[in-house]
Amino acid sequence: MKRLITMLLLGMLALAGDLSHGISRAAADDSGLTPEQLAMLKGKTVAFVPLSMGFDLTEGWSAMTRKQLEPLGINWVIRDPNWSTDAGAQAISTLIANKVDVLVVHNPDVQSYARLLKKAQDAGIYVVQVNMQSAAHTDAFVGGNFVEIGESDANLMVAKCGGGKGSSNKIAIVQGVLTAAASIERMQGINNVLSKHPEIEVVSNQAGDWDASKSRAITDTVLKQHPDLCGVIDFWDGAAMGSGAAIREAGKQDQVTLVTAGGGEQSACDNVSNGTFTVIDISDVRTQSDDIAKSVEKVLLAKQPAGADKQILYTPLVTASKETMRPDTCWSLKDYKTN
């Protein structure tokens, strides 16, 4: 009887999870969990290993997820590798040895942490991956679908620059680094669309090292070579500040469509408003944080061994332009940060 009630509640929780995107939980009393479940969660440790703290995605995930888990008595700890894959691997090894209950891991690439994540699961630690999926699949993955984002970018370029609608059929692509899975999958999405639209001419496809100054230099040079350029796809909004600056300085904001992507921090909407970006594809950090928190709760309550069940939660894509933006399209870190 007790097991039946528990299963019913888990089912209700899963259903509620699907319906309640964006609703944040303010207190344990409103969590919808039974005292027994709260007791199961209390005192558990969830460790977050980001690429680096200090940028909008990781600061957002941490602040928002912490806000949901700590009222349930869960400890949220962070081990910051500061962009060092070696330090990240060491952090994960240490956390495995310390027997944390759940690992939330932000992969630097597809391979680096794969062996360690498997080792963690074998040790009974649940693993939730964020933003980039490793070759090792684990209890949950939460993140944007980069192929879908690439397809969205390319479809916009076709709409704006195909069939004689723009100043030309020419577009430029500024990637992050060529070997990052995010870039590879994004290019796959772009190629899926452009292979059906050969009239779109890619006149430049360079890597900008996720850096605004490099993006600016590349876009500036391309604009000098192709004054009739119609569109730019820059893979990340932090770097696209540079492409946007080059387009603005050339006086071509009305001519060149700039599309980029990010986690929806307020600067993204600010830059759409001020014309730096034409469109930004948002994989909303708020949605992702909700998914992370629910994945953590689910694995801790499920009474199944680590690795028994694998779930993928792709973040719905939100496309923001001046015409489609609403006051709540973006979020601001200061609304969530407490320490």
């Binding site: 496809n205 090292d209 100054s213 600016r216 040079t221 000098k224």
Partner: protein, 325 residues
């Protein structure tokens, strides 16, 4: 025995190489030689050139400043953060400048008075500056130019007589530094110190205050480079502290002919080194050569330049060994 190659200094070798590359790109790459593209070329490496000048000042004095990029990134990121929170302009800029000066003084004192070798002192300072910045001064590693700082575009996002302002600042800073090194007592003293620190001290040159002054000047030039970067792309990405930019800076200095053993070279050498990098990067971008291939090509050409120089200008073991960087 002089085989008639004595006139081919490293600076000239690099200049000839840059000229050859320029001619090749001009002949074979459509649009490379247009005035607009050449301005893009120089604009694209103006910040690198300015940082190279800041590095050259201390290298000529037989030092090195590995914290230059951290100084640039954190002092400017903090300035932008303060502009947003204080809703003013002058005070945040002055605070940023004061912070850069303080960094220069601390580094200079550690090297001149505590006598820690420059390599280690500035390596540690770079990490310290970055740590303080991330921990205490800024919230996110990319700090955007706030809405109320539109005036900042004069430093990097507008053109004067069709010339991008970063180019003008590069020229201005190069001119001031060059004149200072060549025609002032302090400049002469820096060369003397770089050539032989002990002899300079014995002859009465105040080498310790001079070292502090060099690092302060270097930090201020770093701040200027940072302001130009921030204005150009409406943001400061402090992540560049972890990038290879500091090595690119050392590269344009050494490549252009400012020896790490001090006392040689000048600002013109930095300009030559910077322009070679600029020609390479711009030409390869136009040719749509990928980033990883660009790195291979760039490093190969640079190695060729250094190898040619080492054949034409063999190292003198006795001279090269004096002193410790």
């Amino acid at each position: 025995m002089n085989f008639g190659f004595g006139a081919l200094s490293q600076e000239r070798i690099v200049f000839i190489l840059a000229a050859l590359l320029f001619a090749a790109f001009a002949l074979f790459v459509d649009g490379f030689a247009s005035a607009a593209n050449l301005l893009s070329l120089v604009r694209g490496v103006s910040v690198l050139g300015i940082l190279g000048i800041g590095m050259a000042l201390v290298v000529i004095g037989r030092g090195i400043n590995l914290s230059l990029v951290a100084t640039m990134a954190i002092s400017v990121a903090w300035t932008l953060s303060l502009i947003a929170s204080m809703q003013g302009a002058v005070i945040p800029m002055l605070i940023g400048i004061a912070f850069a000066i303080a960094i220069g003084i601390v580094a200079g004192v550690l090297i001149a008075y505590v006598e820690i070798p420059a390599l280690f002192a500035t390596l540690a300072m770079g990490t310290l500056i970055y740590g303080i910045g991330r921990f205490k001064l800024i919230d996110l590693d990319i700090v955007y130019v706030p809405e109320n700082a539109g005036w900042m575009k004069i430093f990097g996002a507008v053109q004067v007589f069709d010339i991008p302002t970063p180019v003008l600042y590069f020229v201005a800073i190069a001119a001031v530094a060059s004149l200072g090194l060549r025609y002032t007592k302090i400049g002469k003293f820096i060369y003397a110190q770089g050539d032989n620190l002990v002899a300079a001290r014995i002859t009465g040159i105040p080498v310790r205050p001079l070292i502090v002054l060099q690092y302060v000047a270097s930090s201020l030039i770093g701040f200027a480079a940072g302001i130009i970067t921030a204005a150009s792309v409406a943001s400061m990405n402090t992540r560049i502290v972890n990038s290879t930019l500091i090595y690119d800076v050392i590269l344009v200095v050494v490549l252009g002919g400012v020896g790490l053993s001090g006392g040689k070279g000048g600002i013109r050498n930095v300009i030559v080194g910077t322009l070679l990098i600029g020609v390479l990067l711009n030409g390869m971008t136009i040719l749509d050569v990928q980033y990883t291939a660009q790195n291979v090509i760039k490093s190969t050409i640079l190695l060729v330049a250094l190898v040619v120089d080492s054949f034409l200008n063999p190292r003198d073991e006795q001279v090269a060994q004096q002193g410790d960087i």
